[in-house]
Chain length 445, copies 2
């Protein structure tokens, strides 16, 4: 039995604590915030998120997949809203394949409940002020400025994009590779409440996108029949969060650019003025561990932008891989930690890149006919030759057996082929012809 400290009781920290407690370890989790369950406070992050197969795999291992399915809303495709309000639908995969809108806070509460049922002790309002890496001693300060230190066998830092554990590695180890890279876009959450009849204002089984090239708005359904909208928008320039600085400018802008959404957003003016705008960061670092003492996991090791809906899924997959390594290597923590960072680093880098690329796809390409046609051809070809072509979105979202790094590599190869296919004469009319099929088969050789 190991004495284990986990810094951060977010989604990844909570899931990890259950994995470790189930193996018989003594697990203490220290969380900077107050107990979500007592206060129903915002975790300062998005209200809902997209759970897909890598995430389900992480939950299945602790037997709560079915419980969470009940509170998840499947989204089978994207619904694009054009400037003039025209709707275009694009399926995310084959029939039955969906990503799932779940409440971040709700899922986090369930995980903390289960963790405590397994004997995990969660200490709230404990800010990590530093870690002595060599002795695996973590230092905390509570909201009354009372300090404490906790020595343990291992420390897992799952304390997110601004990890105190990672900062310690940056400050006190040599050759720590580190970058934090911000997008020029930030985001602001808005809301579409239920209709007067208490129904969803739009199709709840889709992820709604208003692609506007340089920016976009999206909406995901909630169980209470509302949608949470997120406006991804430049911090500065024209238009931007900075430039839309009066209620009048805001309404004029929304009425022009998101005309079909405005009637569904009765509190838009107030929400836009009152809700904060937040930043979008990609964090890359290496190593992820200090000897066999400290390991970074989840956003602490690899924060990514949200455009592939994979942040939590990737963090849960970290836990699955770690669990497999514990099966393989018993108590050899040096090997477990080094294999974990070796295996996961390329996959984390891959999903970081995919997430950045997908922003351009979502805000711009999904509004283009040629792009939609390309995806249609890929889906059609994949249906005919499932052994020869798995669409990138399917690899990332529904194929946990395919590593992110493999998906990225394969996706680039596919993109190269499709660029040639799209140049074929009359591709619009002959998109599902045997000529196209044979040409793809040829290019795949």
């Amino acid at each position: 039995m190991q004495k284990i400290t986990i810094v951060g009781s977010g989604l990844v920290g909570s899931l990890l604590s259950i994995y470790l407690a189930k193996r018989g370890h003594q697990v203490n989790v220290y969380e900077r915030r107050a107990d979500l369950r007592m206060n129903r406070i915002s975790a300062g992050r998005s209200i809902n998120l997209a759970l897909s197969d890598r995430g389900w795999r992480g939950l299945a291992a602790i037997g709560i997949e079915h419980e969470i399915r009940k509170v998840a809303i499947p989204m089978n495709g994207r619904m694009m809203h054009s400037l003039d309000g025209k709707l275009t639908y694009q399926a995310y995969g084959k029939s039955g394949q969906a990503i799932n809108s779940v409440s971040r806070g709700g899922l986090n509460c369930v995980l903390m409940d289960i963790a405590e049922q397994h004997g995990v002790k969660i200490h709230f309002q404990q800010r990590c002020t530093g870690i002595d890496l060599k002795t695996a001693t973590a230092y905390f300060e509570d909201d009354a400025s009372i300090k404490s230190e906790v020595q343990s066998d291992r420390i897992f830092a799952t304390d997110g994009a601004f990890s105190a554990g990672r900062l310690q590695m940056q400050l006190s180890t040599d050759q720590f590779q580190y970058s934090q890279s911000y997008l020029e876009h930030g985001y602001k959450e808005l809301t579409i409440p239920p209709t007067k009849d208490g129904e969803y204002a739009m199709d709840p089984n889709a992820l709604h996108i208003w692609p506007r090239s340089a920016y976009m708005m999206i909406a995901l359904p909630n169980l209470d029949k509302s949608f949470t909208c997120t406006l991804f928008f430049p911090h500065k320039g024209e238009p931007s969060f900075e430039s839309l600085n009066t209620k009048e400018k805001t309404m004029t802008f929304f009425n022009t650019m998101f005309a079909d959404a405005v009637p569904m957003m009765p509190t838009l003016k107030e929400d836009y003025a009152n809700n904060p705008s937040s930043s979008l960061v990609t964090v890359r670092c290496f190593p992820w561990r200090f000897s066999d003492k400290v390991l970074l996991l989840g956003d602490a090791a690899h924060a990514i932008v949200p455009f592939y809906g994979q942040g939590m899924n990737c963090g849960f997959e970290d836990c699955v891989v770690l669990s497999e390594l514990m099966d393989l290597h018993g108590e050899n923590w040096e090997i477990i930690f080094s294999e974990c960072e070796r295996l996961r680093k390329p996959d984390a880098d891959a999903i970081a890149e995919l997430a950045l690329t997908n922003f351009i796809e979502m805000r711009d390409k999904v509004g283009q006919e040629s792009f939609l046609l390309q995806k249609q051809i890929e889906a059609w070809f994949s249906e005919k030759h499932p052994d020869k072509w798995t669409p990138l979105y399917t690899m990332v979202s529904y194929s946990p057996q395919i590593r992110y790094s493999e998906a990225l590599r394969e996706g680039k190869k596919q993109e190269g082929i499709m660029q040639q296919i799209m140049l074929m004469p009359d591709i619009k009319d002959q998109w599902n012809s045997s000529a196209v099929e044979n040409r793809i088969l040829e290019l795949l050789q």
Copy 2:
């Protein structure tokens, strides 16, 4: 008159303090280390460095160019030492153009003396523990753990690659772009003492290089007729600092790879074992300022690897540019700071890239005949058409009127042209023919 705090009394901080004091400001410098001048301690950094024209320009502004010239050793070119001890010389520019080996510590002492003569107060053994960016208040702790705080009108953080000022911006501002990127190579300093007759063991007017593809050793002359050698070598792998872990292995390795140098290095065995190996980092960040209160300059804003010999030169150029902006904008510090980061960021990025590229040139390409021929052609063409072609090395080292970013852009264009020239038939024999001259002229169109 402004009350100004400078964090760090290294080369850039000391020079900057003189610039500011000469303008009548009240300048206090806080330095983490003890006074170099009292202790003659190592600054923990390289013993000598290469001063070139951007650096001279920074010194000329305070009238000490001539004084420093007296203690500088001109190096007019590179002397390559092949495996079998054969020497090949390559001039760094036209006759009379040279980079200059100067003592880092010596130059720093001179600058601190001058600073104090101008009324600058330097406080030693004061570690910066944090900065309140909004109020320009810096917090210090001395070697007896006595704390102090200093509020001023502006703070300049010139505290190097691991800047406390920059860390504060990373920790307490949103959207701070930051990366620290380490090479797989580190370095270790070694020495070639004067001969028994008290003479230089090699030509002192050259920078000596032992290019060995994956690694290299270099040597720069000192005034005491010794050379300081630097081995740039992988941290790990085979061979590496990690693998050369006994005196026997070290000597066998040096006798094989640096055979002609070994007889000149009587203390090699001990130096190798006793001297530390250090890391090589490139730091990029943005912004460099917090409103009109705090500005990062020198390595704090843009630490680079040493392979173009431009680290100090670039930092001194920061001071020159800042000084010009103070001439232009008087006491409008918002404009001075914002213009400084806007102007210098692309140049800092450019020299960072050039420095990384030059490592490959120094450790590998300078050992290849075709590369030396290419440089010979460039020098010949440039001599004939000085208005049409300034070699990259000359732009970077001897042409302070050309911005680093311009030099990088022009250098890439030149490289593209030369790659075509090197493919010309019999280029080895007709390298200085009119056919080659005309082809270059054509490609320059």
